[in-house]
């Protein structure tokens, strides 16, 4: 049913393209859309409606309405009226049981009237509660749009591209083009975007044209995301000119959703662009001059137009479209009946102001034009053309037409005038409430075609002016967008130590540890790794530790005020343990502080706390104006902990420095050379054995690791390290402590020096020091071999009295050991408590201090 070649047709009749439409082979031409080709091939039903499963056909042909939403090559909810034709595409109907032409669910339309009024689901399916899952399953299946292919997540590649524009013009109509050209005369950086693919060939001097590309919204700072299919342009624009034009509004009358009822521009596009005959016998219902023009266009294309009704002149009381099998057959006007298979109807045009409203513009009803227009545009945002209301003529008022059949206000959500009236009668007297109750304007068109009709009906029903009702809030996105496009490429910043690949090569199980990937263990026997540390020599990659150099004349003063303990009295070459507290007195992080020289300190933090601690230091430094620099060297430095009774011998073989017990004491720091690598060696012992933390250039990470492993050090992972530190009763901040923990309740009352001058957390600690803690962090040993989960409940005399924070089975101790918070009055060493494990209570004894080598001789020796 193609027409003779039209003057400006977009199809290339010499290049046929074939695809499958709902199981039928359809051949169109290059330049067609999937929708225009299917229409030309005689297809009329494109979808089934959301709720009543009524057949729907092309309405707007502009990518606004929901009527042509179909699943194309597995991608749901594609508007085939604008989707370019492509060879071999498979187009399927959605929300359909059986087929587009015969949908079993359309029974809801027949019986649905009295049974499915607005709010029906909320009221009906509430009892009995336990049946809700069943109801929900049925309801979800019965209503809706296309189905997402759960496995399609990675089938398409989406990219994001950041762009800048001096002037971004949205909309390529006459006004938009003129504005773009004018802007281009003042300099470069002018971009025009339009959602219509037909503008792809537009050439404007000095203007970059992107089409099809749809601006999705306007955010603060001139941020405009533009949907270009599988590429999202993220524009930052200094000036935004909105030229989105006006959208033709459907006329609200009974039967207005029948297949064959079209908007003027839809019919016009079929004729002009695709040379398709939209019908054989057309009736035109116009509310403004633009609506009348289509009659001439249709006649010119050889279509009979027996009747044109200008609703500004005639005011019928009864107006209804009637049809058979969902297709329009006649229009009834009062007592007259006119046969037709095409009914071109519009209620005038409404400025497409959504982008402007999102940007912060106000929207006001213009009583002369009978539509809403944007005012008070925000800075940097301009509007040109019919989006301002310019050029729109007076529109016929829209009475509440009588006649048989359903009368749709919102075709997306199948909301009828009856539904809206009922909502008003039930007391939903604000348009925002009625929107949520009836879901009008909440469908795929996002109000483009139903916002104005809803408000007009509301005004009529409430006997109010439209201006008093106002509009609903416009929110982005302006049009539906694929979630994949918003997500873009998966970018998860992942930190790897310079030794990472050695762990991978050694077969380590790698796990996330904060922002890092770290080895859990190097085999399935973490206990063997623990034993190696206790009995001979182990090595663990601790490059993830946060590392800061703090230097300057005020370095001491800064540290004195950041930590509750003292640093001024430290000698160069010595190390001290430090715990950071907030001004609320809560534990923030812990680590070691080594004094390298008079005014140079080397500070380590926990692996996960590195960034927060750096910021914390810098912030106080800025606030106090100290003359100290805080330089993060976390990544610059690789660090390993060489631990075990043989660590001293191993280290001595690789260095000329004196690392003997006398020459390199516990809590000493030395800058030495190890195997030709400049190294800061710290003698500390998180894992409780004689050990050295070696800090050296990360570029030499693999080299030194290899050398130390060659000396007999067995790599151990995070899990064995957790066992080792637990044996020593060493606390992991954030694991055993939380945001409520302070130094007193955590058993570190020895650390804060309250006689010091002001330091962060001092005042709170003074209060804590005076009051009784309600809970304490203590160690415990299980009486039997049961292993509690982290978070397991501690029970005393049948009542909950605390929780487990860490627990492991220790070979060296010969028992299951752990740390737990317990009620302060039961925190005495030796107290028997019970711990809930798999619903049963198991006995445990509280104990303080280290479980293993309590005197610390192995570590300090």
């Amino acid at each position: 049913m193609r027409l003779e070649p039209q003057q400006r047709e977009r199809i290339d009749r010499s290049r046929p393209v074939s695809f499958t439409f709902a199981g039928w082979k359809v051949t169109g031409f290059e330049g067609d859309t999937l929708g225009s080709a299917a229409f030309a091939a005689g297809k009329r039903v494109f979808s089934r409606s959301f709720k009543y499963h009524r057949p729907r056909g092309l309405l707007c042909c502009s990518g606004h309405c929901p009527n042509c939403l179909m699943t194309v090559d597995g991608v749901p909810n594609v508007r085939v009226c604008t989707e370019p034709i492509r060879e071999g595409a498979v187009v399927r109907g959605q929300n359909v049981r059986w087929s587009l032409d015969l949908d079993f669910m359309s029974v809801t339309d027949k019986i649905g009237g009295p049974f499915t009024p607005v709010g029906f689901y909320y009221r009906t399916f509430i009892r009995p509660r336990r049946l809700w899952p069943l109801y929900e399953k049925f309801l979800r299946g019965a209503a809706g749009l296309g189905k997402l292919d759960e496995h399609a997540g990675h089938s398409r590649r989406y990219d994001v591209e950041h762009r800048r524009a001096r002037v971004l013009v949205v909309g390529g109509g006459q006004a938009g083009r003129a504005a773009a050209l004018a802007a281009a005369t003042t300099g470069p950086g002018v971009v025009l975007v339009d959602e219509d693919a037909r503008h792809g060939s537009l050439r404007l001097e000095g203007v970059e044209v992107l089409a099809p590309a749809r601006a999705l919204g306007i955010w603060e700072g001139g941020l405009v995301p533009v949907d270009a299919g599988t590429l999202l342009y993220r524009f930052r624009a200094e000036r935004i000119i909105v030229a989105t034009g006006a959208t033709e509004q459907p006329l609200v009358f009974p039967g207005n959703d029948l297949v064959g009822v079209m908007l003027p521009d839809g019919a016009r596009r079929l004729v002009r662009d695709y040379s398709v005959k939209p019908g054989n016998r057309a009736v035109v219902l116009a509310s403004d001059d633009a609506g009348l023009e289509i009659a001439d266009d249709l006649r010119e294309a050889g279509i009979a137009v027996p009747r044109v009704l200008d609703l500004r002149e005639v005011r019928p009381r009864e107006l209804a479209a009637q049809g058979r099998k969902g297709r329009v057959r006649r229009l009834v006007v009062d007592d007259e009946s006119i046969d037709c298979d095409l009914l071109v109807a519009s209620a005038g045009s409404q400025p497409a102001y959504s982008l402007l409203a999102q940007a912060g513009a106000r929207v006001e009803f213009d009583p002369e034009l009978g539509v809403f227009v944007p005012t008070d545009l925000p800075r940097g945002v301009e509007a040109v053309g019919s989006v301002t209301g310019e050029g729109l003529g007076e529109v016929a008022p829209e009475p509440d037409y009588r006649g048989g059949g359903k009368c749709f206000v919102c075709v997306c959500e199948d909301v009828t005038t009856k539904d809206l009236k009922r909502a008003i009668a039930e007391g939903f007297d604000s348009i925002e409430l009625a929107k949520r109750y009836t879901t009008t304007t909440m469908g795929p068109c996002q109000g483009k075609l139903c916002h104005l009709p809803s408000i007009r009906l509301y005004a009529q029903e409430n006997r109010m002016y439209e201006s008093a009702i106002g509009t609903t809030t416009a929110r982005p996105p302006w049009a539906p967008v694929e979630l994949g496009l918003l997500a873009g490429r998966e970018l998860t910043p992942t930190r790897l130590t310079s030794i990472h690949w050695r762990h991978v090569e050694a077969g380590a199980t790698i796990q996330w540890a904060g922002p890092w990937k770290r080895p859990y263990a190097y085999g399935d026997k973490p206990d063997d790794e623990v034993r190696a540390v206790h009995e001979s020599l182990g090595i663990i990659d601790v490059s993830t530790l946060g590392k800061l150099v703090v230097e300057g004349p005020d370095a001491v003063a800064l540290l004195e005020r950041l930590y509750p303990n003292r640093f001024g009295d430290m000698k160069p070459g010595r190390i001290r343990y430090g715990v950071l507290t907030s001004d609320g007195g809560r534990i923030m992080d812990d680590g070691t502080i080594a004094r390298l020289a008079g005014d140079i300190f080397y500070v380590t933090t926990t692996s996960t706390g590195a960034d927060a601690v750096t910021a914390w230091f810098e912030w106080w430094n800025a606030a106090w104006g100290y003359e100290a620099e805080i330089v993060s060297v976390t990544g610059a430095i690789a660090a390993v902990n060489l631990a075990g009774p043989r660590s001293r011998d191993a280290l001595q073989r690789l260095t000329e420095a004196d690392v003997s017990a006398e020459g390199f004491k516990y809590l000493d720091a030395q800058e030495i050379e190890v195997a030709g690598i400049p190294t800061l060696a710290l003698r500390i012992g998180f894992v409780g054995e004689l050990g050295y933390e070696l800090h050296f250039p990360s570029a030499a990470g693999e080299f030194l690791w290899d050398r130390l492993v060659a000396e007999g050090a067995r790599p151990f992972g995070l899990e064995p390290q957790r066992v080792l530190r637990l044996e020593k009763g060493h606390v992991i901040d954030g694991q055993d402590t939380d945001s409520e923990s302070n130094l007193y309740s955590s058993g570190m009352s020895w650390l804060p020096k309250l006689d010091k001058d002001d330091f962060v957390g001092k005042y709170a600690l003074e209060h804590f020091a005076r009051r009784e803690e309600t809970e304490r962090l203590v160690g415990f040993t299980m009486e039997d071999d049961y292993l509690p989960a982290e978070g397991a409940q501690v029970v005393i005399e049948g009542r909950p009295a605390g929780r487990v924070t860490s627990a492991r089975r220790s070979e060296a101790v010969g028992a299951v050991i752990g740390l737990a918070w317990v009620a302060a009055d039961r925190a005495e060493s030796g107290t028997r408590v019970e711990i809930r494990i798999d619903r049963l209570l198991r006995g445990a004894r509280v104990m303080h201090g280290a479980f293993f080598d309590a005197a610390g001789e192995r570590m300090r020796g």
């Binding site: 490429r489 790897l496 610059a636 690598i677």
Partner: protein, 189 residues
């Protein structure tokens, strides 16, 4: 020497390696699985260069005290923070700068550097204004120092431990440009 444990240049010959050695060898994920994108190797060879071992000194203090000759490039992030890029021994440069009255640290090992010959790849990974370089800002969701060299290549420096991730992101973005093998880049190569 003080703080020499920061300096790769103070390590014995043959002991140091770039953090991107593996990332730019082949494309593999963090568990070591090879995930070879089509044409990825070619892309790497022609459009990406590893700058990680290039000498960089982080400077703190009054940057006006730093003479222009200190390095071939001084990136001023603020009047008090900057980076000097140098072909000399960065540890020596740091010492010389300290003598001028600022604090200086060898940051060679702290940063991984990648040169990229495609402006479009830059636009896909950063919203920085590429007309206003050098600067510091986001690149693939991490902080980077971005410069442009005389041949038009973009230089991106990120924390060493994120280098592998960023290199993967760059190679992935290049793969998304749908360049036929052998396509000439926009600059250099």
């Amino acid at each position: 020497m003080r703080l020499s444990f920061l300096s790769p240049s103070r390590c014995e010959q043959g002991t140091i390696a770039s953090p991107l050695r593996r990332a730019l060898d082949t494309v593999s994920d963090t568990e070591g699985r090879k995930e070879q994108a089509s044409g990825a190797e070619l892309v790497i060879q022609h459009l990406v260069r590893d700058l990680s071992l290039r000498g960089i000194v982080e400077i703190r203090g009054d940057l006006d005290l730093v003479p222009p000759s200190a390095g071939e490039g001084l990136v001023r992030l603020s009047p008090r923070r900057g980076y000097a890029f140098t072909d000399d021994d960065p540890a020596d440069v740091a010492e010389r700068l300290r003598a001028r009255g600022v604090l200086a640290y060898d940051a060679t090992g702290a940063l991984a550097g990648i040169a990229i010959a495609s402006e479009q790849v830059m636009r896909r990974l950063t919203d920085l204004d590429l007309e206003r370089l050098p600067t510091a800002g986001p690149f693939a969701h991490v902080t980077a120092i971005v410069r442009r060299d005389e041949a038009g290549w973009f230089e991106v420096y990120v924390q060493q431990e994120l280098g592998h991730y960023v290199a993967e992101a760059i190679v992935d973005a290049l793969a998304g440009l749908d360049m036929p093998p052998g396509l000439t880049p926009e600059a250099g190569a």
